[in-house]
Amino acid sequence: MEPLLKVENLKMYYETIRGYVKAVDDISFEMNKKEALGLAGESGCGKTSVALTILRLLPSNAKIVDGSVTLADEDIVKMSEKEVREKIRWKRISMIFQGAMNALHPTYTIGDQIVEAIVKHEDVSKGEAMERAGELLELVGMKRSRVKRYPHELSGGMKQRAMTAMALSCNPDLVIADEPTTALDVIVQAQVLKVMKELKDRLDLSIILISHDLSMIAETCNKVAIMYAGKIVEYGDIVPIFKEPLHPYTEKLISAFPSILGPKTELSSIRGFPPDLLQPPPGCRFHPRCPHATEICQREEPLLEKTGNEERAVACHLYGR
């Protein structure tokens, strides 16, 4: 089956007075329909930058240096701004931004805001759009009547769901959700994630879920890409990666999340600090913090290579060649 979205060797750098910040450095992955891909990593690893690059929502000092983002035979990187705006954004790929709850306009009702999203991208009358807005709210588990509410009248979880409804308003093929559950309580978080899983099945939707919370990704996604310092260090189906993490960073990251079930394990931590993306360490970017680093790790950067016969790739010299 042809993948829905294919990202190949994507490189995006920010130009600053002190040099280039290599936020996205040679990222490759694929997405199929009805798939949920988790983009996991800590703050500053570049996961939000990947999302912004796919949607071409970059600030003026950002440059896509290399690579392609192919959506059904068209390369988004090569499109003009006008094309991206008319064809891709919100119609085929939409995004729920980080801190989305605060992205709602305080002086318009959520109904009006969803209508605006629809009307700007499709040739539909306002009445029809309002109908759709009501349907969308029901879709995400809210009462249709809440269409008339203002953001400050809604709770955090409801605001998040309203943002989700807005992201779905033009029936996109792919939704990118950037940290959709930070600042939400645990139970509300579970509700929101449940809604997302249902929507994925019901609407044939693909989701890229960006988060630093590996537990949440484990519950919701079926594929995961672990990012570190602008690179993907491990990528593949979720179960094998969690059961048998290959990359040392993945291993450490998984065990940094305490589990409520099972035996009490020792919480791990990784010594050192996240690298400076202006001048990343030579060779493997993780080597200063890696307990298994060897001489070659300091010199040569490991490539993301497939291992085994399943859909799995890892970038580490321990498994090379």
Partner: protein, 338 residues
């Protein structure tokens, strides 16, 4: 001799008054009140780590602040090492006690004064409490505190400003500041929730190491029940200003009694994609604390709510030794706890 608890809270109540506009005060008879904390009691022994777990708005942060006297309780008693805090009114006495109680906040960016150097930040409690007189001694104490928190070499960090440090480093500075006075009681309000996952346990390890060494009584406030499992000796689960369950961590988490505790545990994601989870259906969101539901406050969302739950508030009852629950489902009482 009975081992006196370092911190004992009895029937703590904190209500916040809401200021209405000019006209509304004329119209309404009673100013609306936020029932942040409503009659909670617990004890923390020396060296014990007690977890206060709950979602946002349940009153855990307010409780923490009240214990270090940043907020004055509306009702109830707080005993620190046997002394009733409310009975102290003279500034000097309160200040002496402040030396023994400290607090660490959640946001590493906000809890450090951006205009002060790290050295001054950590030295501040010493200077306020006038403990150390000579500057060389201050330097020594600060350097030692920094070494304890792995901020080495101390000279490397002392002269920097908070914006030059990472989140994890800043939180370690906050911890160093809390421990420089060698407190006997410490409140930590979500100390690691704003840090990256891979750094959390490093900071926690250092924090717990110090706590163990000084045998500080520790109140750990969090919404993450999974972390409390790894750290706390005993926990209390709070909902809408009330403690709904209390006991040793293992007991409460492995054998939850209150439906809310069950829901909380079921909702927490687990880093294991194959784990079979029970889908506990909890509807809706936390009601407003201004008008809490009558009877049991959780009844609006509880899947097992019955008639009595809507009418009568369940008291916190002792089920077994060191195990308490406030739920009509576990109604039979041996004796009411306080």
């Amino acid at each position: 001799m009975k081992d006196e608890a370092t911190m004992e809270v009895q029937n703590l109540v904190k209500h916040f008054e809401i200021k209405l506009g000019f006209f509304k005060t004329l119209i309404t008879k009673q100013a609306p009140v936020v029932h942040a904390v409503d009659n909670i009691s617990f004890k923390i022994a020396k060296g014990e780590i007690f977890g206060l777990v709950g979602e946002s708005g349940c009153g855990k942060t307010t409780t923490g602040r009240a214990l270090v006297r940043l907020i004055e309780p509306t009702e109830g008693k707080i005993f620190f090492q046997g002394i009733d805090l409310a009975s102290l009114s003279i500034e000097r006495e309160v200040r002496k006690l402040r030396r023994k109680m400290q607090i660490i906040f959640q946001d590493p960016y906000e809890s450090l004064n951006p205009r002060m150097s790290i050295f001054d930040i950590i030295a501040e409690p010493l200077r306020i409490q006038k403990i150390v007189e000579k500057e060389e001694e201050v330097h020594e104490s600060v350097a030692k505190a920094m070494e304890d928190l792995d901020l080495i070499p101390p000279e490397e960090f002392m002269y920097r400003f908070p914006h030059e440090l990472s989140g994890g480093q800043r939180q370690r500075v906050a911890v160093a500041r809390a421990f420089v006075l060698k407190p006997e009681f410490l409140v930590a309000d979500e100390p690691v929730s704003m840090l990256d996952a891979s750094i959390r346990s490093a900071v926690l390890k250092l924090l717990l190491g110090l706590q163990k060494r000084l045998q500080t009584a520790f109140l750990y406030i969090t919404h993450d029940i999974a972390i409390s499992r790894h750290i706390c000796d005993r926990i209390a689960v709070m909902y809408l200003g009330k403690i709904v369950e209390k006991g040793s961590t293992d007991d409460v988490i492995q054998k939850p009694l209150h439906p809310y505790t069950e829901a909380l545990i079921a909702a927490v994601p687990v880093p294991d994609p194959t784990a079979r989870r029970i889908e506990v259906v909890i509807k809706g969101e936390v009601p407003s604390a201004i008008n809490p539901p009558p009877g049991c406050r959780f009844h609006t969302r509880c899947p097992h709510a019955t008639e009595i739950c809507r009418k009568k508030e369940p008291p916190l009852l002792k089920i077994e030794k060191n195990r308490y629950v406030a739920c009509h489902l576990h109604g039979s009482s041996k004796n009411t706890e306080s």
